[in-house]
């Protein structure tokens, strides 16, 4: 099932937590939502589930608004624990069994065993990571078509983090949709096909992880003399950002890195290199204000 979010806004008081967000989340895939704290990821998830009333905008599931029948097919793992302190793990499983008609209790217990969770323990006695694991186990036992997972590996050790990623991959392979957020960029990089980067309530970057990596490069060149001119290369539409220090210039290129590299060489740069970026680099460039292209042009004209 695909999810289409158009122009979503959610205002709390005077502050817009989500400010004109549009996203296309395809079905049968894993979608990763990245963003610094306060970017609006959790609010977006809550709006998707009708747990927060949207101020404006639209969220459609296969072209339709969220209906009770669709809601039944969505499993949600919230960022903060929603477990009841006084209830045991198995009582939570029982509660889910009663609440959701496709819920498979044996599957939940199987997953809890994988995570090494003692089902007789009360939620109060569980660590943050164990609480996450309990919520994840219950969500993946729902037989849901859409899984919305807000930090589903929070507090988990690396082994259990990998279990969660494998569960997500399995769902996508079955044709279900997984949307998740994580601050662990390496996980998103591994499991997600599409990503969106949010910052201050907006999407600042989205695409296929593999395409972003193939297209976005750093082109670096060294000039023999501190007095050099970039011949307008920094204004090229494919140059998203330019950083210049003394004799070195580094350009963030959104596509066509080889052509930009040739232009840099033609402008007199030596040691021109095209450097790959991993998702962490791409993410940091997307959310850090840094030196805008315009600033560099100003530097260029003043030198």
């Amino acid at each position: 099932m695909s999810i289409t979010i158009t122009n979503l806004r959610k205002v709390y008081g005077k502050a817009a937590a989500v400010d004109g967000l549009s996203l296309e989340i395809p079905g049968a895939s894993v979608f990763g939502l990245l963003g610094p704290n306060g970017a609006g990821k959790t609010t977006t998830f809550k709006c998707m589930l009708d747990m927060a009333r949207t101020t404006s905008g639209e969220i459609l599931y296969d072209g339709k608004r969220l209906e009770p029948a669709t809601f039944e097919r969505i499993a949600y793992v919230p960022e903060r624990s929603v477990l009841y302190d006084w209830m045991t793990v198995e009582e939570h499983v029982e509660m889910n069994r009663r609440a959701f008609k496709n819920f498979q209790a044996p599957r939940a217990f199987e997953l809890l065993a994988t995570f090494n969770i003692d089902r007789r323990k009360r939620a109060r006695t569980l660590s943050k990571g164990m609480k996450t694991a309990v919520m994840v186990a219950n969500a993946f036992a729902r037989n849901a078509e859409i899984l919305v997972l807000d930090e589903p590996t929070g507090g988990l050790d690396p082994i259990n983090q990998r279990h969660v990623l494998s569960l997500m991959i399995n769902e996508a392979a079955k044709g279900n949709s997984v949307v998740f957020s994580s601050h662990q960029i390496g996980q998103v990089e591994r499991a997600a096909e599409h990503i969106a980067v949010m910052d201050r309530g907006r999407v600042v970057l989205q695409g296929l992880v593999d395409d972003l990596k193939a297209d976005r490069k750093i082109v670096e060149g060294i000039f023999p003399d501190v007095r050099f001119t970039l011949d307008g290369i920094a204004n090229d539409p494919h140059v998203a950002r330019a950083d210049r220090t003394e004799r070195i210039v580094r350009l963030l290129v959104t596509s066509g890195a080889d052509a930009i590299a040739s232009r840099l060489t033609a402008a007199g740069a030596v040691g021109v290199r095209v450097l790959d970026l991993n998702l962490e680099d791409i993410f940091l460039y997307a959310v850090s204000p840094g030196t805008a292209t315009a600033d560099v042009v100003a530097t260029e004209s003043s030198s």
Partner: protein, 132 residues
């Protein structure tokens, strides 16, 4: 299928390209032989913990390059002419590596003659004198 297939998601190289490169390398080295069956998209995705669509993309490109063939309902196989393709694939891998080295040499300002001299020295280190 060799269990040696691994991906490094943290690399700047797209995962689907890493999968393509490794399957080609396995064929070039004879680890994967003509007619040999590849794991299903789902199986490889689960094994590597990467998105199934990413694996599917790698398989599509390998089909387009006529390295593998997919029979509906039966799975994907190294093409029958895969074995004869292996010298070509080996040449491709070697050529790509040389390209990287030459780009680097050029970027630091080495001349053609200097590169040739370095190449001859390196050649002597890795290949017997008798081998032409």
């Amino acid at each position: 299928m060799p269990a040696v297939l691994t991906v490094d998601p943290r690399s700047g190289v797209p995962i689907y390209l890493q999968i393509i490169e490794q399957i080609k390398r396995s064929i070039a080295l004879g680890v994967l032989q003509a007619g040999e069956q590849l794991p299903t998209v789902k199986q490889l995705a689960v094994d590597l913990t990467v998105n199934p669509n990413t694996v599917a993309r790698a398989y599509r490109d390998l089909e387009r390059d006529e390295v593998i063939a997919t029979a509906p309902g039966r799975g994907s196989f190294v093409r029958a002419d895969g074995a004869t393709e292996s010298p070509k694939v080996a040449a491709e891998i070697g050529g790509d590596a040389l390209d990287v080295a030459l780009r680097e040499a050029k970027s630091v300002g080495l001349s053609r003659a200097e590169v040739r001299e370095l190449f001859e020295t390196a050649l002597g280190r890795w290949y017997d004198d008798l081998e032409k």
